[in-house]
């Protein structure tokens, strides 16, 4: 899949290949703001951060992998943690699940029967959901860094 044009305003270079002087403070501030917006968008909707930078391949794959993990995890009746956590591990699970952004709501709507971790499948489902969240956070962080011109 052809993909990955340069991120927004890639590092400016002159004709000799040397890095040019950094932009004005207002340009830097605008770029930083855009990077935050892209990072948050990438967290809310998996792949949206990359899509905003026209990195279509990464955007589609982030959306599909996180989405598949969420659907599988919820379908396997994994534990979708809620804010009524009882202990530190529940809180960690809740934070990991929240990493999927709006897909957290999808997981809750798919898993109408509630979790069943009495079988291995349910336990695996819990891991799938947590992995989806952490993977989406990694993807959003990658989009943020790419928007800042640090990574592509």
């Amino acid at each position: 899949m052809a993909d990955e044009t340069a991120p927004i305003e890639a590092s400016p270079q002159d004709s000799t290949g040397e890095t040019a002087a950094p932009g004005t403070p207002s340009q830097d501030s605008r770029r930083e703001t855009m990077a935050y917006v892209i990072g948050v968008a990438g967290w809310l909707v998996p792949g949206l951060g990359h899509a905003l930078m026209k990195m279509w391949g990464r955007a589609v794959m982030c959306f599909l992998t996180v989405g598949t993990l969420v659907i599988l995890g919820a379908g396997m009746r994994g534990n979708v943690f809620s804010s009524t956590a009882n202990d530190a591990f529940d809180w960690l699970g809740y934070l990991a699940d929240l990493g999927t952004g709006t897909f957290y709501l999808v997981a809750r709507s798919v898993e109408t029967g509630g979790p069943d971790v009495s079988h291995a499948g349910g336990d695996y489902g819990t891991r799938f959901l947590a992995t989806a969240g952490v993977l989406n956070l990694l993807s959003a962080l990658h989009a943020y860094e790419a928007a800042r011109g640090r990574k592509a």
Binding site: R58, T65, G75, G121, Y124, T131, L135, S139
Partner: protein, 64 residues
């Protein structure tokens, strides 16, 4: 796989799906060129499976 009340996957199917999805995501995030991505995905998938099966065998003596 049964999609009635939910997905019922075996241990091996779960591991394969997990390894495949994570490998694809890592490959796309960390590499730009298609050929580099494919190499990374295949290599990562093999390592996931090898280490998964290896840990399974390492735990076998303690399973009973």
């Amino acid at each position: 796989m049964n999609a009635g009340m939910g997905f019922k996957l075996s241990h091996l199917q779960s591991m394969l799906l997990f390894a495949l999805l994570i490998s694809i995501a890592f490959g796309f995030l960390s590499r730009r060129q298609p050929i580099e991505r494919v190499k990374y995905i295949v290599w990562s998938l093999l390592l996931f499976l090898l280490i998964g099966v290896g840990i399974g065998w390492a735990m076998y003596p303690f399973s009973r």
